[in-house]
């Protein structure tokens, strides 16, 4: 049973990889590739957010803050100190993690609307600092001419190059998140969400885990930020508004915030949706809002709920009740 599962997992992974590498060959339209790449970057943020809000139950409406820290730190290091991309990315992630730690400490005492507001506050503080700390951040004009990443002598410059870069990182990120989620750590996060007190009484150092969740989500947003800086080539505080944080949270909830796959679905569907709705012109945001409301009412588990139902249906049809016991 175990062995079969393992091989099946590898098989699925292999097929996925193959499909991914075929994508830029099939989708030659740069516009679509651009949207797919953007979706990939947003997915990273949403995965982190799901670990934080979906698994651990700490709702954050300030992810744009970590995202901004990732972008600015890595871009500034590359621009001013000529750091290579990977080194800049690493430092940016550490910086974002420190921010996660800083906001995680007051957050461990908070819940519900109070926690939400604290995270909103964090996001706004970051944005205002970027806006006003002109000597370093160039203020509202933002950063221009952010260098392209270089990787073993290869220069990542076209949308296609970025596709591979982003999707290798995304694949890694998804894998690690999936491991975390399915491991003791994810289990402990879930236990804290379900009953903090009971978890503490069973020996779980709840505060440590709550702060860790903040740090992990910040790391994901930091990686996404570093990728974004090079991908967009420019960055300004306008990229990291409260509305962006709201969009990330929407992706997380619409996709299904209690699974990693949900994050992937949510980020891509909403990224595509907001582009697709362009046909409706002035009414498109009205429709977008309507879809959000409709989904949270009638699909409380998000789109992933549908996937689950499909899986159940599939296993009922073909596996005749056999269940996979290894989690």
């Amino acid at each position: 049973m175990k062995g079969i599962t393992k091989w099946r997992t590898y098989g699925i992974l292999g097929v996925l990889l193959l499909l991914l590498f075929l994508v830029p060959q099939v989708v030659s339209n740069i516009y679509y590739l651009h949207i797919i790449n953007l979706g990939g970057i947003y997915t990273l943020i949403t995965i982190g957010l799901n670990l934080l809000s979906g698994y651990t139950g700490q709702v954050s409406m300030g992810q744009a803050g970590y995202f901004a820290v990732g972008t600015y730190v890595s871009s500034l290091l590359m621009m001013n100190l000529k750091f290579p991309f990977w080194a800049a990315l690493l430092v940016a992630v550490v910086a974002a993690a420190i921010c996660g730690l800083i906001i995680g400490i007051p957050a461990m005492k908070l819940s519900g609307p109070y926690l939400v507001l604290a995270t909103v506050g964090f996001g706004e503080i970051v944005r205002l600092v970027l806006l006003n700390w002109t000597p370093v951040t160039k203020g509202a004009a933002g950063l221009t001419g952010i260098p392209l990443p270089e990787f073993m002598g290869m220069r990542i410059s076209s949308e296609k190059d970025f596709f591979y870069l982003i999707f290798i990182v995304l694949l890694l990120g998804t894998y690690v998140a999936q491991r975390l989620a399915k491991s003791k750590i994810g289990r402990t996060f879930t236990a804290i969400r379900e009953d903090e007190l009971a978890a503490e009484a069973m020996g779980v150092p709840v505060n440590l885990y709550k702060i860790s969740a903040f740090v992990i989500s910040a790391v994901y947003a930091g990686v996404a930020g570093a990728l974004f800086g090079s991908f967009a080539g420019v960055a300004s505080p306008d990229n990291f508004t409260f509305d962006e944080s709201v969009a990330f949270l929407s992706m997380s909830v619409i996709g299904g915030n209690r699974s990693i796959v949900g994050a992937v679905i949510g980020a891509f569907v909403l990224t595509f949706l907001s582009e697709a709705l362009r046909v409706f012109q002035a009414l498109r945001l009205v429709i977008y809002g309507g879809i959000l409301i409709f989904t949270v009412i009638y699909m409380p588990k998000g789109l992933y709920g549908l996937v689950e139902q499909g899986q159940n249906w599939f296993s009922r049809q073909f596996l005749a009740g056999k269940k996979d016991y290894s989690s």
Binding site: V176, I185, R187, T190, A191, E194, D195, A198, A201, G203
Partner: protein, 263 residues
């Protein structure tokens, strides 16, 4: 006569909530490898006492000692590695998780968390996950729920949920298990099973403290019973002694005409 050192000592513990004296100078000693019952009417302070023992509530006065060492400044999660685990009166399971996952949380402190190995699904992570799974399954097997391992706990019956909580506490490998109304909501067969499990544990060397309303059960399995009423300990002793104690009868059956002194 050799004095057995108590595994748990509650010395003169008091706790006040606003205007309510929830615990009033309680002193209780629990001998190792015994089943110790705590009874009393609703609102007598039994659960508060459990909360104080497990570190969820800080006492206003008094001290708590586990195997002679003072524990009353410790946080709940620090008590588990020292061998204290509990269940809750109104079942506090992790509802959106499966049975085995619930029990695995009980096992939390006994396996390391190799974070980097987890991230890459390394050998170490898989090894410890396997160990944890085996131990959790042992605990589930002990309570007879191994076939329900992958059920969602919310789909289990009330009695089964109590057993899951019991297994979760066992998975923490405690020396001292505190059970808060373990039989509430169980049918007679389930109760009999619980009774059997508790005596089995006692034989294995565990110490059990339980709060229970089912007198038959309490009288059957406890060596010592402490009776609380309005935050005070009004009696303590062997079951047959408690059964005849006039204060106990009046407090418990609420014979209004027997208003005793001191209340």
């Amino acid at each position: 006569m050799t004095e057995v050192t108590n595994i748990l000592e509650v010395r003169g513990v008091s706790k006040r909530f606003g205007g309510l004296q929830a615990l009033d100078d309680i002193t209780i000693g629990v001998k190792p490898q015994t089943v110790h019952g705590i009874i009393g009417p609703n609102g007598a302070g039994k659960t508060t006492l459990f909360n104080v023992i497990t570190g969820l509530i800080q006492p206003d006065q008094g001290g708590l000692y586990l195997e002679g060492r003072r524990i009353d400044s410790l946080k709940p999660y620090q008590l588990v590695p020292r061998g204290v685990a509990r269940t809750f009166q109104n079942i506090r399971l992790f509802k959106e998780m499966s049975v085995i996952e619930n029990v695995l949380i009980g096992q939390h402190v006994h396996t390391p968390t190799p974070i980097f190995s987890i991230m890459i699904n390394g050998k170490k992570s898989r090894y410890w996950e396997e160990v944890a799974l085996q131990e959790a399954m042992d605990a589930l097997r002990f309570v007879g729920l191994e076939t329900k391992a992958d059920e969602q706990v919310k789909n289990l019956s009330y009695g089964q949920q109590r057993l899951v909580e019991f297994a979760r506490a066992l998975a923490a490998k405690p020396k001292l298990i505190l059970l808060d109304e373990p039989a509430a909501g169980m049918n007679p067969t389930e109760k009999a099973n619980l009774l059997r499990l508790v005596s089995l544990l006692q034989e294995k060397g565990y110490t059990i403290v339980l709060i229970e309303h089912d007198m038959k059960l309490v009288m059957n399995i406890c060596e010592t019973i402490s009776v609380l009423d309005h935050g005070k300990k009004i009696a303590e002793g062997r079951p047959e002694h408690i059964r005849k104690h006039p204060d106990v009868i009046s407090a418990y059956l609420g014979k209004g005409d027997l208003v005793h002194a001191g209340s």
